[in-house]
């Protein structure tokens, strides 16, 4: 697997606690996917989606055709449907050339159990999202 990916992973908060060779094992577990501007990555209401981490580029979150927010390097998506078994509640569309790492939904739970540090980082991020959404209401 790309050595460049290992270096890039090391810079992302989600994987910040991992060191080589654990980082390399992560790079080998995830697949790299590249999308052109305008291509859809995750689809609202369609089952079987994956978990994605953005390595490079920008994406938009679209719900019922309406743009809700933007995602960039280090952001990730698809974890909620992967962990709950539901369908994504939004489309994720590449806004620029978008380079991601992906993990099939059913593999996210075993991956997190094997990498508790990554799980903790994800939990912290989800907690921040929850706090922010409560604050807005």
């Amino acid at each position: 697997m790309p050595d460049g990916i290992v270096d890039r992973l090391a810079q992302l908060t989600l994987f910040g606690d991992l060191r080589w060779p654990a980082l390399e094992a992560v790079a080998h577990t995830f697949e790299e996917e590249v999308f052109g501007a305008g291509q859809r990555v995750l689809r609202q209401g369609i089952s079987g989606g994956a978990f994605y981490v953005i390595l490079e580029g920008e994406a938009v979150v679209v719900i019922d055709g309406e743009e809700r927010s933007r995602l960039g390097r280090g952001d990730y998506f698809g974890e909620i449907s992967a962990l709950t078994g539901g369908v994504p509640v939004a489309d994720i569309r590449a806004e620029t050339l978008l380079r991601c790492l992906s993990l099939p939904g059913p593999q996210l739970e075993p991956f997190l159990l094997e990498h508790p540090n990554v799980m903790l980082r994800m939990l912290q991020a989800e907690a921040r999202r929850l706090r922010d959404s409560n604050r807005w209401q």
Binding site: M1, P2, D3, G4, I5, W20, P21, A22, E24, A25, A27, H28, T29, E32, E33, V34, F35, G36, A37, Q39, R40, R43, G45, I46, S47, G48, G49, A50, V87, L97, R99, S102, L103, P104, G105, P106, Q107
Partner: protein
Amino acid sequence: MAVAPHPFPPGDYDVVVVGSGPGGLQTSYFLGRLGVHHATLSADEGPGGMFRRFPLFERLISWTHSTADVPLSSREFEAHDQNSLVAEEPELRALVPGVLEEGRRRPAREEMEASLRTFAERAEIAVRYGSRWRSTRRDGDRLVLATDDGEYRCRAAVLAIGMTEPWVPEIPGLELAHHYVNVENRPGRYRDRRVIIVGKRNSAFEIGEGVVRQGVRELTLVSPRPPDLGRLARSPLRPWYLTPYDEHVRGAPGRYVLNASVERVERIGEAYRVHTLDPTRAEPIVLEADDVIAATGFEAPLRDLAQLGVATVLDGRLPALTPYFESVTVPGVYFAGNVTQAALGLRKHGVASVSSMVCGFRYNARILARHLAETLTGTRQERPPVPADRVVPYLLAELDRAPELAMQKGYLARVLSAVGGDVRDEGILPLEVFVDGEADGVAATLEFDADEEIRPVLYVRRGGLLREAVLPPHPLRRYDALAYREALDDLLRPLLRS
């Protein structure tokens, strides 16, 4: 009619196809049938592509049956024969069964090469052999492909260049190892040797199987990623290549499959020392071997396409592609053959296409040729009407028997458009094209679900709203049963009424 010995002089063509392996021949065939003005170039001296060299030890991992309950020349037979190219004319179909050694179900390299040669001859596919594509540039609305013979200008280039160039990760000392492509397949070459194979995918298991049969003393497969047993269960590798893994899990002496990163490789006299780190262990594991083989994968020979702006994936090993196999960043640069595995599709539940194999990309080539015919010439191919009362039986018959759906699960679909009650057969298309499109209609496909059960799945768009309907599996995969008919009736009634 004989094919001209050295056709296609340098010049201006609508499409230039590069490659004379199965991907190049299949694309050239369909472009020819659609009347698209094109030139086909190949660096090789004859048809066959990768099968002129690979696989090294083994037969292919894809099957061809020589008999079935349907005629060999029928469309349905394609599902029984993963290795033949497809064609409209009966005499061009199912050519691999004709060259297969009696009693075999998987062709050898030479048999594949022979079947492709026969296809090229019978279909009269003209190829300019011995003409190597060297570089690429853009000139206005034309792409210019430079070859040893001169320059070819085109509106679209289709690169069917395979994925057979060795790729070796930047691990210190790994360059000392033999790559898969340079391994000697000489009887007894590995007898009583200690062999380390870096890698744990198809080529690693193929070589592992080959050297085990030669009576290797010790065999270790090493790479960071554990073998993905869930995926192997669905893989054609399972019954044929897994002796090394099987012997490892059963504790056979000198058979190891390590999940560890390779830190460096050193040469110690005639032998090698391989330093590895397993993330779950504190101590490094140091292995000694007489031979180290890098089965670390392949890359497509993309030459200067990155400089032209073609975005790539996996450290430049493959181009990033649209659903119509076009570079996501450089319009007009298309790919055929096993590079089309880079067009991802929906990958539901992590299931990839089989576009890396003939049985997958032969259909991709047909889709690409029609797409090029329509986009370059502006002439829309016919979309036959489907009477409303025939829609459900037609889709059920396709789910039952369409080889495209059986082979390319979750990737290709039978698509019908439905606009104002006018239902048209849009053909077999990448599912992604329909799902991410806007037109009302229905796409029918077969998919693996999260438990690896095969299910019929329908995607219905009406009034711009898309709905996914995952139907129950059938133990015999027969979808003409009443329950499916009723389910489709219910799903499609609103669409067909409007």
